[in-house]
Structures are given as C-alpha cells and as structure tokens.
C-alpha cells in the first residue's frame, strides 16, 4: 500500500511534494501581502480620521464574522466577474480567467490583514507612552521616536500573535483545495480518487500539515525567546 507514496512514475510522492511546495508558496505570498495590508490597516485604525478609522473597523468586523471559506469563494468568483464586467465596460470583448493561485492569495491575504492589524495595533499600544515622551524630551522628532524607540520594541509584542497567525494561515491554505488549486490537500484528494485509497492520502496530507505546524511552533518559540532577550523574565 505504501508504494503509492513512492516517488517516480508509479507513486504519488513527487506529486504530494509539489503540492507541499504550492502550499508553502501560497502561505508565504499571502502572509507577505497580508502583512503589508495589515500594517496599513493598523495605521488607518490609529489615525485621527474618523471615516478612515470606521472603514477599517468595519472591514475587520466583517472578516472576523464571516467564514474564511465564504470570503475565499467570494474573492474567487467575484474577482473574475469584476474584471470581466469592467473589461466589457471598457469595450473589450474578452473573458479573463483569474489564476487560481492569485485568487487564493488575494482571499487569504485579505483575511490575514484583518487579524494581523489587531496584533499590530495591540503591539503599538503596548509600548509605554512615557517612552515616547522621553524620546521627544531628548530632542527626537516624532519619526525618529517611532523608528528608534517604538519600532524595535513593537516586534517583541507582535511576534507571539504573528506566529499564531502564521500557523492559522498554513492551515487555511487547505481551503484552496475547494477552488481546485493543486496544493497539498487537493493533490491528496486527486490521488485518493485515482487509486481508490483516499484514507491513505488524506492521512498522509494530515501528517504533512502536522509536521509543518509543529516546525512552525518550534520556530515561533525560538523567535519569541530571542525577542525577549535582555528583558526581565515575567
């Protein structure tokens, strides 16, 4: 039975490995994009413009209350219709198919942005106000204070939350299987159907996910420890 997992023409090992690569790529791309969007959202939320702030609040409220699965499908089907209808409005007679990978990255990063912006905001507010006042008192500008005093400390507070979100992201990439993107879970499903042994392939996929989250768990612990270096242990 396990020869099905071997590499080469007869086994599915290499296909599963390709699936793992796509899963990791998907997670990394979505985190990178979602991270930037999340920072932007956090800045918006901390700004003094009421309308901006409320828009950002409404956005996070939406993402936190609606299933990830629904958001992913909405982005997948929505982006295609949006692009095609705007092309039609501009007078082009073409139907464009949005690449599944791009749609999945868009959906997952929109979700990541909403959760990470809360982490950033929390971290920003965790740096004591007195420190910023002190920075100003020694003659730093606001920008200098932000770059030299607040930013370096921000990470200490943000790393545990971001580490968690990374693991949530790794698991959420599996949703892309439903829009038939050939990531790990989808490969396992196809292999299971082709060999009529779905149990073996799904359990293998599960174990690979488990290995990836376990590894992330260890790395997060390390990152947390190094971020706490030199701090009085609490």
């Amino acid at each position: 039975m396990f020869e099905l997992l071997s590499f080469g023409d007869t086994g599915w090992g290499d296909d599963l490995l390709k699936g793992v690569v796509i899963t990791v790529q998907l997670a990394l791309c979505s985190v990178a994009l979602g991270f930037s969007l999340g920072l932007l959202l956090a800045i918006t939320k901390l700004s003094s413009f009421k309308i901006l702030r409320w828009t950002a609040e409404a956005y996070t409220l939406f993402v936190r209350g609606v299933p990830e699965f629904l958001i992913l499908l909405l982005v997948f089907f929505g982006s295609e219709q949006l692009i095609n209808s705007s092309l039609a409005a501009m007078g082009f007679e073409a139907t464009v198919a949005v690449p599944k990978f791009a749609a999945a990255v868009a959906g997952l990063s929109l979700i990541f942005a909403a959760y990470s912006c809360e982490v950033f905001r929390g971290a920003y507010l965790s740096v004591p106000v007195g420190q910023m006042e002190a920075a100003e008192a020694v003659g730093m500008t606001k920008m200098q204070g932000f770059l030299h005093i607040r930013m370096p400390q921000l990470w200490r507070f943000a790393i545990p939350g971001l580490g968690n979100l990374w693991m949530v992201m790794l698991k959420d990439t599996s949703l892309a299987a439903v829009i038939a993107l050939d990531e790990l879970l989808r490969v396992a499903k196809v292999a299971g159907e082709a060999t009529t042994n779905p149990l073996l392939f799904f359990i293998t996929a599960g174990l690979i996910y488990l290995a990836m989250t376990a590894l992330s768990d260890i790395l997060r612990d390390k990152a947390e420890k190094s971020a706490q270096k030199g701090m009085a242990s609490s």
Partner: protein
C-alpha cells in the same frame, strides 16, 4: 422532534414573509433555503459546542493529571487536532474512513453515511481540542492553594474541581472561549464540502443555479448576524459573571 420541526417551519415562514417584501428578489426567491441553512448551522454549532465542552473539560483534567498515559494521550489529541486543518479532518473522516464502507465499519457505518453526523463529530473533536487548551490555561492560572484549601475542607477532588476551580477557570477563559465559538461558527461552513446543507451549503447550491454573486453577500450578512449574536451572548455572560 416534530414540534421542533414545526416551530422551525413556522419561524422560516414568518421570517420569509417579513423579509421578502423588503429584500431584493434574488434573496426573497431563495429565502426558505437561507433560513433552513441558517438553522442547520445553528444546530451544528450548539450541539458541537455543548459536546465539545464535555470533551474539553475531560481533556483539560487529563492534561493536569499525574497519570502519564492520560496526560500524554490528552496532549497528543489536542496537538493533532490543533495542528491540522479542519478541512483535512473532515475529509479524512468522510471521504477517507467513509470509503471503507459498511462491511469494514460495521456498527459505525450509520455514522459515516451522513455528512451531518461526521460534520458534528469532527466539529466537536476540533473545538474540544481548542477549548481544552483554553481551559487548561485558565486552570493553571488559579493559585494552587485554592485546590488544597478545598480538599482540606473535606471536598473530594471532583467537588473541588467543579465548585472551586472550574468556575474560576471559566471566568479567566471566557473572552478566549467566546472567540473560539465564533471561530467554530466560521469553521462550520466547511461541512458544506461534505454534502451538508448548512448556510454555506445552501449558499453554494443557490449560487450554482443563479451564478449571482449577491447570494454570497446575503450569506455573509446572515453569518455576521450569527457572529453578532454569539458576541452579545458572551458579553452578557461576562456582565453576569462580574456581579458578586
């Protein structure tokens, strides 16, 4: 059971009669489907929350026990369910174990035949793992002296746990538990991939017919309402716990 069914139909009829005139036709046309799916989602959520809590409490106790076997087993259970995607868990059970068929599964087969029962089992096991971790965090944060004092006054281990330790652990863990219930609600949408016609399942069915994106927007609003209700419920509980 039929009383409950009748009540659901009555609510569905009343809600749709009230909503159809004030909502777009693309909603009104499928209103009973949305409401029906909404009920299925709520049922799955309530049942998996209740059953998951029982598991979570037992597993949290096991994690704190000095019995090495219990301790390790509880750890492995919660680690595996928190470390793998919910979708994979659902598909392992439904498509994986389910493929073994009636002859191999024996008396368990009726459970695997229906997407709904598998969905309930997996959601329960999944939330049980997360909540056990939340509860454990609450329990280890209560000073040890309290348990010792409870036992010293003559309470048994279980009495001390249920009357002294757990209520306080819940108080500490309450906000995190509320978040977990919302996450469970959002995760429950995945049961639509194993043929369950919950809110998401109905939404996908309606969408496949009309190919109208508004369908997803209506569903999102319904999910938001549900999330709002859960959040309010937990806020209410928090205020109740503050008194005294």
């Amino acid at each position: 059971m039929s009383v409950y069914q009748d009540a659901k139909y009555a609510v569905s009829d009343a809600a749709c009669a009230a909503l159809t005139p004030v909502t777009p036709d693309s909603f009104g046309q499928f209103c009973p489907r949305f409401i029906d799916g909404f009920f299925v989602t709520v049922e799955l959520l309530v049942l998996s929350c209740a059953l998951g809590l029982v598991i979570a409490i037992s597993v949290a106790f096991a994690r704190l026990s000095s019995n090495m076997f219990l301790n390790k087993a509880a750890f492995v259970y919660s680690y595996v369910f928190r470390g793998t995607p919910l979708l994979v868990q659902l598909w392992i059970m439904y498509f994986g174990l389910g493929s073994l068929g009636a002859e191999n599964l024996g008396f368990l087969w009726p459970l695997f035949k229906e997407g709904w029962t598998i969905g309930l089992i997996v959601l329960t096991l999944n939330t049980g793992a997360y909540v056990s971790e939340i509860l454990r965090g609450g329990l280890v944060n209560i000073p040890k002296g309290q348990m010792e004092a409870a036992v010293a006054t003559g309470m048994s281990w279980f009495q001390s746990m249920f009357h002294i330790m757990l209520p306080q652990a819940f108080k500490i863990a309450w906000p995190a538990y509320g978040n977990e219930v919302v996450l469970l609600m959002k995760g429950s949408a995945l049961v639509s991939t194993i043929t369950v016609l919950d809110l998401m399942g109905q939404t996908r069915t309606v969408f496949s017919r009309s190919y109208n994106l508004e369908v997803y927007a209506y569903s999102a609003v319904l999910y938001l309402i549900l999330a709002g209700m859960i959040t309010l419920l937990f806020k209410f509980g928090e205020n109740r716990m503050k008194t005294g």
